[in-house]
Amino acid sequence: MRLHEYQSKEIFHQQHIPIPRGRLASTPEEAKLIAEEFNGPVVLKAQVLVGGRGKAGGIRLVKSPSEAHEVASKILGSRIKDIPVRRLLIEEAVNIQQEIYFGMTVDRKTGETIVIASAEGGVDIEEIARKTPEKIAKVGINPLLGLKGFQARILAAEIDLPRNLWRSFIEIAQNLYRAYTQLDATLAEINPLVITSSNRLVALDGKILLDENALFRHPEYLDKRDLSAETPEEIEARKFCLSYIKLSGNIGCLVNGAGLAMATMDIIQHKGGQAANFLDIGGGAGAEKVAAALRIILSDPQVETVLINIFGGITRCDEVARGIIKSMEDVDTKIPFVVRLVGTNEEEGKQILASANLETADTLQEAAEKAVALSMEVLVS
């Protein structure tokens, strides 16, 4: 789960990481009042959960309260990469002397958290990492010990941070690491961490991802999930604990298991078609869940064929079949289905579907070929 910039900064503030003075505004009037209160240039930052906000016009420096009102009225209610902007973070402008990158995430390879720093922060950090990897300083953290002072100091030395800022940098690093572990984050970034013209370190932007599997320990964030960046289908899918991602093709897929779902998309592509979505119903899904998944797939206007590929282990084929029948009763659709059921209670499932007169297949390959052929027919017709 991704947190908003303002949420990340609330966390920074609680952990004594310096941030610019700032407040949220939902209306141009509020933006103006905050600018008046701060009595100087302010930055307006759209609070949307997408990358590349700045380049898309979501971050603007203004000199006066009236300009704040004017610009805020333009950004609020507009869309950035299709996400509606509902709130702005209004912050005091900061004089920047240098932009540093500082972040941490889990390294799957070692199972450790890697803490990363670079003297050249900002939006181009990934390119810097690719072109000049020697400018990136990294240190691996023993999760049982946490980020030690000496490790933060080694990073400070490696990025040639001025010595009078080492103490401040070490504190910020350890405070961010503490937040990262306390919140069960899988990523915490300050980018840029700036050296101001008055020679202080200030966190100008922040990004925190929380581990979905650990949210039960952080109910305060469960309530705060921002659904505005999600489609109604994705919201519906979360409600039923379905893993759903919308894609650009026209073959709706319903599969049990993430790996098999990907393999199903792959074979569709291999046979010349394109999947409309990734949808994993997980293990042991009942008829209700299957029906909900089909409703989500069928609500996508791009879907012209549905491929159902179930390999029953914990999941029972008869339950899936009942879910299919149920959804066909609920939703009146002419979209053709290709169904392939194998594994637990396969025969019972096939019997249930026999009356529905659906296209069936014995192998994944056959199912994919049929679905792709059907999707082409539709295209031609």
Binding site: R2, G103, T105, V106, D107, R108, K109, G111, E112, T113, I114, I116, I125, E126, A129, R130, I136, K138, N142, P143, L144, T181, D184, T186, L187, E189, N191, K207, L209, D211, N213, A214, F216, R217, L247, N256, G257, A258, G259, L260, M262, A263, M265, D266, I267, Q269, H270, A275, F278, F311, G312, G313, I314, T315, V342, G343, T344, T363, L364, Q365
Partner: protein, 293 residues
């Protein structure tokens, strides 16, 4: 011989009285697995599975009494890390964790503790291990496998079933099939299992089923190229998947240039692995290899 589990396996089931644990313990017992005990805190003293298997309050007691060397974990995600620690503490040699949804923080810590321990962990979020025809630890359906000489190792659940089933349909049997689990951090990687297959006389060929994300397949490719004498057939799921947008700059910096299906497939091919385009292509590739050798 198979790898990891065989007729010397003495299994305890952690969470044996739960819904999942109870169902799959029955399946395993029916298949032939030697289940010597179950563990459910607070239910020590009961007997389950038609009175055949005693239940203990702790893994330590279960191991002391039964001489178990292997454990399979079916407890809910919130308690699964504690269950793993308990098994490590009791020096269980092989721990197979079926539970999915264990937080990353717990797994990073468990990874450290495993290093200094006498235990090997498979999973979490693993379908388990099956060595046909008599031993299975986990939830892989037994009907889709038959004994044979092809080792299978996979990060997926149902995709593994798909592959093993396709092998069986083509008359090809499995020595051992190991699901290492789909989570970001797991106890054993491809390399760990591949090196077991290398040392197993029954296995003459290995099928490795990977996924996009992480670097495990690349590391495995390097290992295959330098240390594995047996032929390997590979498959990587996710060639048609959209790129993962969620790992931030830090993730991109760490994993730069690896993790995509293309990178994994290229690495495997460089190591001499035959890579299938879709799961059901695998039996044909195996038969081609057998024809050559």
């Amino acid at each position: 011989m198979s790898i990891l589990i065989n007729e010397n396996t003495r299994l305890i089931v952690q969470g044996i009285t739960g819904h999942e644990g109870s169902f799959h313990a029955h399946q395993m017992l029916t298949y032939g697995t030697n289940i010597v005990a179950g563990v459910t805190p607070g239910k020590g003293g009961e007997w389950v599975l038609d009175g055949k298997v005693p239940v203990f309050d702790s893994v330590k007691t279960a191991v002391d009494v039964s001489g178990a060397n292997t454990s399979v974990i079916f407890v809910p995600a919130r308690f699964a890390a504690d269950a793993i620690y308990e098994a490590i503490d009791a020096n269980v040699e092989l721990i197979v964790c079926i539970t999915e949804g264990i937080p990353v923080k717990e797994m990073t810590q468990i990874t450290q503790i495993l290093k200094g321990s006498r235990s090997r962990l498979i999973g979490p979020n693993s379908p388990g291990i099956i060595s046909p025809p008599y031993t299975k630890v986990g939830i892989i359906p037994s009907t889709i496998t038959q004994p044979g000489s092809v080792g299978v190792v996979s990060r997926s659940g149902t995709l593994t079933y798909e592959v093993v089933y396709a092998l069986k349909q083509a008359g090809i049997g499995t020595s051992t099939c190991v699901g290492i689990g789909g989570d970001a951090i797991v106890g054993s990687r491809f390399v760990d299992v591949l090196s077991h297959f290398e040392g197993d006389p029954q296995t003459d060929m290995v099928v490795m089923i990977g996924e996009i994300g992480g670097q495990d397949e690349e590391i495995a490719a390097n290992f295959i190229g330098t240390n594995l004498s047996k032929p390997v057939i590979g498959f990587i799921a996710g060639q048609a998947a959209p790129p993962d947008k969620r790992m931030g700059h830090a993730g991109a910096i760490i994993e730069s240039g690896v993790g995509t299906a293309e990178a994994k497939i290229a690495a495997l091919k460089d190591a001499g692995v035959k890579v299938a385009s879709y799961p059901e292509e695998i039996p044909g590739l195996i038969e081609n290899l057998r024809a050559i050798h």
